[in-house]
């Protein structure tokens, strides 16, 4: 606990874990995006909303905690990316604001905008949330357009340390096809997880049947985008940091090399991918099997965890700047101080306790599955 090297890696692990859990919990968004596809009648839509409506706060809270943990452990990322890629983050925030009120308001009398509007809000959040988050994470591998100049603080006329190099403030990320591919891969993964969650959580024959059937086209789309992204990720040049000089440079096959040099991560990645596919395929093939969400969900967490760890560990710049390579952020140059990382590490020991009560509360609610006579 006294080594900043260890703590920087530990905190990158925690931030990656939170990011991975967030992707799993995007099953709520995936479910929302399927509201009008799976729910053909009002009764069915109510069941779908009741199902994800009891879990949306976990996703939301994980997003907020992900932001808070990133701020505490790697504040230079918080200041550079949020203040620079302004429009991407504002769009993400806006679509989550819409979600926060929609579950509570959509069915309430006097809700001003009408039930349908709030459901469209949920649909928008369901589509834009995963796509934008995925595209933003894509910049971890494909770079973003920023400068970091710490000496700028001494210029009293313009003391801002981090600046964005384009007037688009983050929107230019969608012009990079690989960011879009990751965004769409996350989107279809969220939809798959949403379907698997419906299968697990809603005891209604029609929804069960429709969800299982819908898994096939969603899985095909997911595999197209995910595998293309994955193959490109393995063969692309990555952003390496020289551990002695701290100079950032492009390295061929960097992320592939990271997996080879950290074989445990390679094994976890393979387990994760197999878990995702096993959960999907068995749900499609075995008509009364409902546990797909747990296999695919765990698989998704493991896969995303490894991908994010490869972004920051093993002398890699996790937030590379394509405008100025030496402005790139690494877990070393962007982290909090030893004191703060250590103090926060003590706080992080409470996380297992938090996970335990979430599990307990989740089980207590999910012992009663959503049925036709749902109260919502």
């Amino acid at each position: 606990m006294n080594s900043i090297f260890f703590l920087q890696h530990y905190w990158w692990f925690l931030v990656s874990l939170l990011g991975a859990l967030l992707v799993f919990l995007l099953f709520v968004q995936g479910g929302q995006s399927l509201l009008f596809t799976i729910g053909k009648t009002e009764g069915q839509r109510k069941m779908l909303l009741a199902s994800t409506g009891r879990k949306w706060e976990f996703t939301f809270t994980t997003l907020v905690t992900f932001g808070g943990a990133f701020f505490a452990s790697f504040p230079l990322f918080y200041s550079t990316s949020f203040g620079g890629a302004y429009w991407v983050w504002i769009l993400i925030l806006l679509c989550f604001v819409l979600q926060a009120v929609s579950y509570e308001y959509e069915a309430k009398k006097g809700n001003l905008l009408g039930t349908k509007t709030y459901r469209v809000f949920l649909l928008l959040n369901g589509i834009l949330g995963p796509v934008l988050i995925g595209a933003a994470v894509g910049t971890f591998f494909n770079g973003a357009e920023f400068f970091v100049r710490k000496n700028q603080l001494t210029d009293t006329m313009m003391p801002v340390i981090s600046s964005w190099a384009t007037p688009w403030h983050g929107l230019e990320a969608v012009l990079v096809i690989w960011n879009v591919f990751l965004g769409l891969a996350i989107f279809f993964l969220a939809r798959i997880l949403g379907l698997l969650y419906f299968v697990n959580n809603i005891y209604d024959d029609e929804i069960q049947k429709r969800s299982r059937k819908r898994l096939i086209p969603e899985t095909i789309c997911f595999l197209v985008f995910f595998l293309t992204f994955l193959v490109h990720w393995l063969i692309q040049d990555g952003f390496a940091v020289d551990p002695t000089t701290k100079i950032v440079s492009l390295e061929a096959y960097k992320y592939f090399n990271n997996l080879i040099e950290m074989p445990a991560l390679l094994i976890v990645l393979l387990i994760g991918v197999v878990g995702v596919l096993y959960g999907i395929l068995k749900t499609i093939l075995v008509s009364d099997w409902k546990k797909g969400i747990w296999f695919s969900g765990t698989g998704a967490v493991l896969t995303v965890l490894v991908v994010l760890l490869c972004a920051g560990w093993n002398n890699t710049a996790y937030y590379p700047s394509v405008a100025d390579l030496q402005s790139s952020l690494t877990i070393e140059n962007s982290s909090s101080s030893l004191y703060t990382l250590r103090a926060m590490a003590y706080v992080s020991f409470l996380i297992p306790f938090v996970l335990a009560y979430i599990y307990y509360a989740w089980r207590a609610l999910d012992l009663h599955k959503i049925k036709t006579d749902v109260e919502y």
Binding site: G67, F82, F96, V101, K108, N151, P159, S163, A361, L365
Partner: protein, 546 residues
Amino acid sequence: MIDNISSSLIDWSRAQFALTAIYHWLFVPLTLGLGFIQAIMESIYVKTGNEFWKKTAQFWMKLFGINFAIGIATGLILEFEFGTNWSNYSWFVGDIFGAPLAIEGILAFFMEATFIAIMFFGWQKVSKGFHLTATWLTIAGATISAFWILVANAWMQYPAGMHFNPDTVRNEMESFWAVALSPVALNKFFHAVFSGWIIGGMFVVGVASWFLLKKRETKFALESIKIASIFGLIACGLSVWTGDGSAYQVAQKQPMKLAAMEGLYEGGKGVGLVGVGLLNPNKEKYNDGQDPFLFKIELPKMLSFLAERDLDGYVPGITNLIEGGYQTRDGGVALSATEKIARGHAAVQALTNYREALKAKSDAVIAKDNAIKAADDEALQQANDAFQQANDTLQQAQTALDKDFQYFGYGYLKDPSDLIPPVGLTFYAFRIMIILGGFLLALFAVTTFFSFKNKFENKAWLQWICLISIFLSVIAGQTGWIVAEVGRQPWAIQDILPASAAISNLSASSVQLTFFIFLVLFTILLIAELKIMCNAIKKGPQIVEQ
């Protein structure tokens, strides 16, 4: 990229943060206060087994849920705005400020998110005891959340437990406990939470009064009023106590804010507290010779007593703070604003020198390596000299920085008058908060008396006052925050970083656009919330009374 930070960007960034904070604080206090009250009601249900209390608690929980959702929505924006709109701030103090936000997420938000689901959807699914625990844990989560965000806010008003590291160009935490348990943080937490309890109490008394005016749900209304009145009365008492503590802390740590709160330009010993007063709109500068007041009624010597715990204590006014020269508490002589600005410039210059020396030192190390490789003795000697010179400069710069860092933020200011916050807004907001706070204390005393004497039901005039007072309690809370936040301008972090240097490098038009997006969105959602809440209230708890 922008070469200069425009005042327009600073103003719109301030406006956007103020907008989000004001909207957020419309909903949070109700969560804190109503949550506590409904938990008390559910506790009575679990203890007595009386279904009446279950229905009563469920009704208030329904309103709690409607309010809670929009509080979360605005809170999300608030947290991320530190990054999106105050990016320099986020780096400069992220090492300290990020920690409370992360702890808030880990400890508080998950507690709220987990147990609120049980609270709303678990009535038929978990045992009575588990449900009650979930209700209490939900409000505990909300309160813990308030604690950590107020720790963060208090640290901005009174930065403690950190040092500046010129190598990383930021402040770094030295003592977690100095940050978390600073007297400003503790006072701020309790004062803000108790003000939330007052609003929650007033909301319950006001809504219940509406039922009495409509001659509906009488037993439900009267019992709710009893609990909320006692709760509100206690909260008011505690709020007076912590408010006094807050004012004392302001006097010690932020004397300019106190001077603005009082419209006090010329301080002195035995200064009176302005009870009511009308500021002179013609006063434009602190030294223009205009009387700051058209009229005022003072409580003699009270400001000195509140600020210094001494009827004859010295309280500096705005002019004194700008011109300096008065004797400080520790026996020294106060610096003038001009001197502070000069020392701020010296601190910024020392940082510049430090950074240049750091670069020179690093270059010298490379030159040394090259000279050794080339076996060039002359070059090696030159490199050694350069290294030594850079090292000396580094140490001198460090010493200069240590000496003047406490005035670092002043280095970004141009004119002493930049140090004066908007006096009118701070002064009137403070008066409104105090007057409404006093009124609410009296009102809760009256409602407690009449409700426990069983004489509330037929007092329509009192019921109307209670109904209207819901809005007054909200205004009291809002004006309190205006005093706290407007009164500390121009500082993002007191003395260390002004808002103008804390900003993100964006175009003013971008922030202007997001300001209006948020304004429209929050306003629509607020109207929707109020309509839904009014409908839910009209529907009532639907308790069949025996």
